[in-house]
């Protein structure tokens, strides 16, 4: 592991609720190296978004804290850009203007021409220069997510935080965006923390997969190092024993070790979810 870049130590958080404080996270410890791609995976409601929001500075940890390059994280800021699940583009601004807004605030004092060039550069990275003047409502979900990524990249963040960035997209679009993200990560070398529900996505993209226990008082269960050579090709990997081994590890953690405790219907057949694809399985386990 390289030098210490981003460090979460003893992070815990209590949310105030009408029934008293609700402990969502305890003792989350994680060290992330510069340029590393880390995925957070776990059942819905276990606290993944909360971890990400604490790193982003949108939530304040009750105990412990986050240190980025030697400075404690206390407020949100552009050096920890967030790609939100539902794109969160400003609906009243065009694609270009959405990215420009970020550029204007992240690169104060630059000339107009420099800013324009930088906006265009980032939109080129995600292949979205053909729709500069379109409003978010006029482009597809995948395109919106691309623009959201361009907006985050344009802030030149030290850490790119992504909360289920492709969760709402169809499988084909998701695969395209995963490839685009791998390309960008290979070129720019940003540190990335990405939340995902998708086991394939986690294995394909990550250097490490952080698997979280179920809440309440959730914490990190296991960390899996994914030692697959880059650049990774999804087709080639499909038949790779190593890839399938990692995939199996994650599935085992999710559906065996961290089976969701279901108070309503206990007579669910264990193991039946294992064969299903991860996404469906996670949904059916939620619904059960």
């Amino acid at each position: 592991m390289q030098s210490k870049h981003l460090e979460l130590s003893q992070v815990g958080i209590d949310f105030p609720t009408p029934k008293g404080p609700f402990t969502a996270l305890t003792d989350v410890n994680l060290k992330i190296a510069k340029g590393e791609f880390v995925s957070l995976i776990g059942h819905s409601g276990c606290g993944k978004s909360t971890v990400l929001n604490i790193v982003a500075g949108l939530h304040q940890a009750t105990t412990g804290g986050v240190i980025l390059d030697g400075a404690e994280v206390t407020t949100p800021g552009p050096e920890r850009a967030v790609v939100f699940q539902n794109h969160s583009l400003l609906p009243w601004l065009s694609v270009y203007k959405n990215v420009e807004l970020a550029v204007k605030h992240a690169m104060r004092g630059q000339s107009k021409a420099q800013m324009r060039e930088w906006v265009m550069h980032n939109l080129e990275l995600v292949h979205m220069t053909h729709a500069l003047d379109k409003l978010p409502s006029e482009i597809s979900g995948g395109m919106k997510q691309r623009v959201g990524i361009a907006r985050a990249l344009s802030m030149q963040p030290k850490v790119l935080l992504m909360d289920e960035p492709f969760g709402a997209l169809d499988a084909l679009t998701r695969a395209h965006l995963q490839d685009a993200l791998m390309e960008i990560h290979a070129n720019l070398g940003n540190t990335v923390i990405m939340i995902t529900h998708d086991v394939d996505e986690a294995v394909l993209l990550s250097d490490r997969i952080v698997m979280m226990n179920n809440g309440p008082a959730a914490t990190i269960g296991e960390i899996l190092e994914v030692d697959l050579p880059r650049p990774r090709e999804r087709l080639a990997l499909a038949d790779s024993p190593a890839y399938n081994h990692y995939r199996h590890e994650v599935l085992t953690f999710l559906y065996d070790k961290q089976k969701k405790i279901e108070p309503v219907s206990q007579h669910r057949k264990a193991g039946s979810t294992k064969v299903k694809s991860d996404n469906k399985a996670s949904k059916s386990s939620d619904a059960a």
């Binding site: 949100p76 552009p78 969160s88 400003l90 609906p91 802030m155």
Partner: protein, 331 residues
């Protein structure tokens, strides 16, 4: 499956003639139904009017009212001629005096004939707009403050709840007395009655705008607020780039409600306080009690309705102009 839908979409005749006919057939209800409604209303009105005898004669039917529209227009034209003649005479007189004695300061006096129906319309329109603008200038920023800051909302909310249900007409005596006491000037730019009416309108225009703006601002998508935080937008940018665009629909809902209520209240206030405007026109006609009074009041009633409608449409067009969401259905 896809073949099926293809066939289905082609099936209804797509030849040009059928297309045009089809379009007319589709649009027909939109054009025809309001016309049918209007005709039925006129017929009903006509029938009912004949059977109502008041102390001022038979209740006016549509034809009678239409006749009075012509009369009111003529009266207005006559009054205008009188006014012009008055000014011409005044100018001639002054010119003659100045020719005689170059040091003479010409006196210019305003024409003081009775205001016509159209003068009253103008007075009311002007008053409602001034009252509405005063209220909006106060209510929108205050609403934004309440929406942004929980403490501001908690502090102001009891006052809103207390004053919102008060009929502005209850304020009217207080406003009248306060204006009389405070607005003393030898050469007033505005008449006291105008200020009283405008403030009464403003008092009732405040609340819907204030409440709707506050709700609009406080219900901004939390993701967008997070975007603003991550970008570290300055408070001003946050306001102009995030808060205002996303709460514009609610602000306009409030503004339109306010303007509608303001217009209704103004007419009542003018009747009650004998302030110039359409309300006074109605009251004066009622007091006159001539055989034409009811028809003239009916003209005023329809005019008030039409102006209320036009004001609302104007606000809607304004909303379309400033709203980013051109595709949303506004009604």
């Amino acid at each position: 499956m896809s073949k099926m839908t293809n066939i289905l979409s082609i099936a209804p005749g797509n030849t040009p003639a059928e297309g045009v006919l089809g379009r007319i057939y589709q649009r027909a209800p939109v054009l025809l139904l309001p016309l049918i409604g209007l005709l039925m209303f006129l017929a009903l009105w006509n029938g009912v009017a004949k059977n109502i005898d008041t102390s001022l004669g038979e209740f006016p039917g549509p034809a009678h009212v239409w006749e009075q529209v012509g009369v009111l227009i003529d009266e207005h034209a006559v009054q205008r001629e009188k006014a012009e003649a008055f000014y011409v005479r005044q100018d001639e007189r002054n010119a003659a005096r100045v020719a005689q004695d170059p040091s003479y300061q010409p006196k210019v006096r305003d024409f003081t004939g009775a205001p016509t129906f159209f003068d009253q319309i103008w007075t009311s329109l002007y008053t409602v707009m001034v009252g509405f603008v005063i209220a909006s200038v106060i209510a929108v920023p205050l609403g934004i403050l309440c929406g942004l800051s929980k403490s501001a909302y908690t502090a102001i909310n009891p006052l809103i709840q207390l004053f919102k249900p008060v009929s502005p007409l209850a304020w009217l005596p207080l406003v009248t007395m306060v204006v009389s006491a405070l607005y003393v000037s030898d050469d007033p730019a505005f008449s006291k009655s105008f200020i009283t009416s405008a403030f009464t309108v403003a008092l009732c225009c405040l609340w819907p705008t204030l409440i709707n703006t506050a709700v609009g601002v406080s219900s901004i998508d939390s993701d967008l607020i997070n975007v603003s935080k991550v970008l570290r937008l300055t408070p001003l940018s946050h306001l102009t780039k995030i808060v205002l665009p996303s709460s514009i629909p609610m602000i306009f809902t409030g503004l339109r409600l306010s303007l509608g209520i303001g217009w209704m209240v103004l007419i009542a206030a003018e009747m009650l306080a004998q302030n110039p405007g359409l309300g006074k026109f109605v009251w004066d006609e009622f007091q006159n009690g001539s055989s034409e009074s009811l028809a003239r009041i009916m003209v005023a009633v329809l005019t008030i309705g039409a102006i209320g409608f036009i004001l609302d449409r104007a606000m809607l067009s304004f909303q379309r102009l400033v709203s980013w969401d051109k595709s949303s259905v506004l009604r």
